[in-house]
């Protein structure tokens, strides 16, 4: 058989292939030749063949049939064979392979070989990809080599030990004695790898950490020598002596100094020295400064040093090199919580980074900007952030919009500003706004009573411009439904009122219904809005017509609504005004408090939704209950379910939600009191941002023949709890279970103790006052656990 072709020859040949198919053919041919050569157990050319196989493997072709050949090469006496064999092992024989462990014996022998380069090969292989079993078997050999005086081997053994520890953490102890005088080495290679080993041990074990704390002075001394010593050509990088070692030492110091006053003090001086003396013109100096800053921020450093660190980061922000700017922003993000004021000083630079071309820098600048927003800078910051929102990539818009809403909610200087800001976001990034912002915004608008006219006018104008952004359209149609009367009467005080007629408004809303751009949810919103206008506008006939048309809509949701509204017109017209009354101010749940906006971005959840309906909306509720009863037996499908098809539909369909089951959590309701015809039921809910708060709604009903008037419910709880009683829906409990009085109680139970309550009821019944006290002990465990 002719000699197999040389490696370089093969590479040259394969590179001449013009198509993938041609290459594949060449490879297949060569593989066949190699396979037969392997079968012949040819020792001479095995090395060459495996090398060729490794090349083909890199091109993406299978090479598993060479695995055993690698083992044979490793076992050979020739250095060339071993070199290729070990390379092949590292590429083809990782720990997932069955034959991996067969290497163990060879490696063991080679660890004790007479030639240090062979020992080096085996240490390298073991340290790169040895499996846990292999590490267990050979840890002893590695430990021996860690104590050798040969620095070439010692440094490799140290990193090999790191790998062993990573794979088999229990073996860490056995390397402890060998670490004794690692740091007294002069050889930088050994020093560097030793520091890596020490770092690994300290990160994994608090005991090791305390044990090695005594090395701090020695580390400080080594670092000092590196900085102070003159030019050393062997380790110099752009005028800095062994930056790799400096960075590793700084990292180890960080771990040793964290949380420990003495160690932190011992390293204060050297950190200050490095921070002030390191040359910053090249990347290498900045790499050291970066590590220094990270260390200063993590240990218990004095405030002067911390300010120095933040200032270094500030200078980084102004650096031309975008890598440096990126690193600065990342670090500032980490420190903004603890050193807020110091970071604030660099706010304008950070805001400038919003205009950077690099995506990663922009993202970090945005996150940092949100973290820096406060009551003082809100106006200026918001201008910048809104400008950013206009021009940023679509990937950012959702996060940015959420961040803006949160910041606006926390720090809005005025209601008008808040609404303007919200409007701006809706009009510029309306389609990227998160779904749950719609109900939040609606709540905000509802609660800003004096701004209703202004808001509805601006939203109307926005609708005229653009109906493609669904969240904007939904909020707008909801508002027009609620405040359409203000719109046509031109009551706006904040800006020039516009002239718009009822028909024009209805045109717009009907336009939404028919437009292809509107989603089903949006259509539902606009239908309900049109319906609400029937009590605010005079063109009732037109509205009746629209509503009846949609009674046969294909969209089930629309059809259902239209049918119900139709029913309202026809049979229950007397109830219509009450049902379609203006929404009252909604109670706001505790919003998420955390300052880390990045976190809350994902969390703007629908807690606001939960309790929105619990606060009492009595007359409509009680009459709606009647509606429920009356509709029950008809051919019209009873509507009242909480199955709100999409999340924001609750705002438009809240009429329907009112009638739904009020216990929104899995906690079962309970009867707290039932005497003399007065029955009080508790329903529960967890307040999402703070699970220690249980929100209880009482429902008081009266089964006697006479109303209970001047009804007052009071409650008291044991000292470990805190109670907040909100205002009741009314103080008349109608007779014969015709309605209920609801009231919300919020109980703070930080110690998660069993909930107990004492209640006091006073009311007037049939002319005489009644008073009663009762204990409530039968709370279900889920309400307080």
């Amino acid at each position: 058989m002719p000699a197999p072709i040389r490696l370089r020859e093969l590479i040259r040949t394969i590179r001449t292939a013009r198509t993938q198919a041609e290459e594949r053919e060449m490879i297949q041919k060569e593989c066949a030749a190699i396979r037969s050569s392997f079968r012949e157990e040819d020792n001479t050319y095995r090395c060459r063949n495996v090398a060729k196989l490794l090349y083909m493997h890199m091109l993406g072709y299978p090479a598993h049939f060479g695995q055993l050949e690698c083992l044979k090469l490793i076992a050979s006496q020739k250095f060339t064979d071993k070199r290729i064999g070990y390379l092949g092992a590292m590429l083809l024989l990782d720990e997932r392979q069955d034959v991996h462990l067969l290497m163990t014996n060879c490696i063991k022998n080679d660890l004790n070989h007479s030639t240090q380069y062979v020992q080096g090969l085996s240490l390298c292989t073991l340290g790169c990809m040895g499996s846990s079993e292999m590490c267990r078997d050979l840890a002893g050999e590695v430990e021996k080599l860690l104590k050798t005086s040969n620095s070439y081997l010692r440094k490799k053994a140290a990193l090999c030990a790191v790998h062993v520890i990573r794979k088999v953490p229990e073996l860490m102890e056995m390397f402890l004695p060998a670490t004794k005088n690692l740091l007294s080495e002069k050889n930088h290679g050994v020093l560097h790898t030793s520091v890596v080993l020490l770092t690994e041990m300290c990160e994994r074990s608090p005991d090791m950490l305390s044990h090695f704390r005594k090395l701090v002075p020695q580390l400080v001394r080594i670092l000092k020598n590196l900085i102070m010593s003159g030019y050393s050509p062997e380790h110099d990088v752009s005028g800095i002596s062994d930056p790799f070692l400096q960075v590793r030492i700084l990292r180890l110091l960080r771990i040793l100094g964290k949380g420990d006053d003495d160690s932190s003090e011992a390293m204060n001086d050297i950190l200050a020295q490095v921070a002030t003396n390191t040359e910053t013109s090249k990347n290498v100096g900045n790499a050291i400064l970066y590590e220094t800053v990270l260390t200063i921020m993590d240990i218990k450093s004095e405030s002067g040093l911390r300010v120095l660190a933040i200032n270094i980061l500030g200078r980084f922000l102004l650096n031309n090199d975008k890598n440096i700017r990126y690193v600065a922003l990342t670090s500032l993000l980490k420190t903004v919580q603890t050193d807020h004021n110091a970071v604030q000083r660099h706010r304008s630079t950070i805001v400038d980074c919003l205009k950077d071309l690099d995506v990663s820098i922009k993202r970090r600048a945005m996150e940092l900007s949100f973290a820096l927003v406060n009551g003082n800078n809100i106006r200026g910051m918001m201008k910048e952030l809104l400008y950013f929102l206009d021009s940023c990539d679509p990937d950012f818009k959702a996060d940015c919009a959420s961040g803006i809403f949160l910041a606006a909610e926390k720090y809005a200087p005025s209601k008008r500003w808040h609404i303007d800001t919200v409007m701006r976001v809706l009009t510029t990034a309306g389609s990227y706004v998160r779904d749950d912002s719609v109900p939040n915004l609606i709540q905000l608008i509802t609660n800003s009573v004096e701004m209703h006219a202004y808001t509805v006018q601006r939203l109307y104008k926005a609708l005229l411009d653009d109906i493609s952004q669904q969240p904007l359209v939904q909020v707008a149609s909801w508002c027009i439904g609620e405040y359409g009367d203000l719109l046509v009467s031109g009551q706006c005080e904040e800006e020039e009122p516009i002239q718009v007629s009822e028909d024009e408004v209805l045109d717009v809303l009907e336009g939404l219904l028919v437009s292809n751009l509107s989603t089903p949810v949006t259509r539902a919103y606009s239908l309900t809005a049109i319906m609400k206008l029937s009590t605010r506008f005079s063109s009732v006939n037109r509205i009746k017509k629209v509503v009846s048309i949609y009674g046969s809509s294909i969209d089930v949701e629309l059809q259902q609504r239209a049918v119900e509204y139709n029913a309202l017109f026809k049979k229950y017209d007397h109830m219509r005004p009450a049902l379609l009354e203006r929404m009252p101010i909604m109670e706001k749940t505790a919003t998420n408090g955390p300052t880390d906006i990045a976190q809350t971005n994902g969390e703007t959840d629908s807690t606001i939704l939960d309790t929105k309906h619990l606060p009492s909306i009595t007359q409509p509720a009680s009459q709606a209950n009647d509606l429920l009863d009356l509709l029950g037996g008809n051919d019209v499908v009873p509507v009242i379910q909480t199955t709100v098809p999409t999340k924001p539909a609750s705002a438009g369909g809240e009429l329907l939600d009112l009638l739904g089951d009020l216990s929104l959590t899995g906690i079962p309701p309970m009867t707290a009191y039932n005497k003399n015809g007065l029955k009080i039921e508790f329903t529960f809910e967890r307040s999402n941002p703070s699970p220690n708060i249980a929100v209880i709604t009482i429902h008081a009903t009266n089964s006697t023949e006479a109303d209970m008037t001047e009804f007052v419910f009071q409650a008291a709880v044991p000292k470990t709890f805190q109670l907040q009683l909100l205002s009741p829906s009314s103080n008349v409990v109608p007779a014969l279970n015709q309605g209920s009085v609801t009231q919300v109680i919020r109980v703070l139970n930080p110690q998660k103790q069993q909930l107990r309550m004492r209640i006091k009821l006073t009311y007037t019944h049939k002319g005489s006052p009644v008073q009663d006290l009762a204990e409530v002990n039968n709370f279900p465990p889920q309400s307080w656990q």
Binding site: R48, R96, K156, L159, V162, F244
Partner: protein, 155 residues
């Protein structure tokens, strides 16, 4: 460091060093996706990106991209220096290195890398020492070969 990849501007892999155990399939997938991501970057962008849960540091030298995946606690800027040091070593060894050198002598590129890094960490911070070790090993290889009659078997 979790892995280092060298690839050309056309996306062809020239060297792959993995310091974490992954299946061949996973390695191929990661390589493909990462190469795509890095090649899509514009020249003005910074050398760092977040990819999956890793930090990626990359730098282009002539027609080759040097790409490393490092862990959260690792220093990005010093990784750039590590990449640069490796390029310097290759340059010194091959004498003004170019992509073709690495294509035709890939095994040597690996040998040099394995004298510089071990288990993903730098084992030797002196350029001179790394090159000396390689030189000695090469000599050993030659002596091995001249002692047997077949001559240079590899090249």
């Amino acid at each position: 460091m979790q892995f280092m990849l060298l690839f050309s501007r056309q996306g062809k892999l020239r060297l792959q060093k993995w310091y974490v155990p992954l299946s061949d399939k996973e390695k191929k997938k990661i390589t493909r996706e990462l190469v795509q991501t890095v090649l899509a970057r514009k020249p003005k962008m910074c050398s760092f990106l977040e990819w999956r849960d890793l930090k990626i540091v990359y730098k282009r030298y002539a027609s080759l991209y040097f790409c490393c995946a490092i862990e959260d606690q690792d220093n990005e800027l010093i990784t750039l220096e590590i990449i640069h040091r490796y390029v310097e070593l290759l340059d010194k060894y091959f004498g003004s290195v170019c992509e073709l050198d690495i294509i035709f002598n890939f095994e040597k590129a690996y040998f040099i890398l394995d004298e510089f890094l071990l288990g993903g960490e730098a084992q030797e911070t002196s350029k001179k020492n790394v090159l000396k070790a390689i030189e000695q090993a090469d000599l050993l290889q030659e002596n091995n070969n001249t002692s047997c009659s077949m001559g240079l078997l590899l090249s």
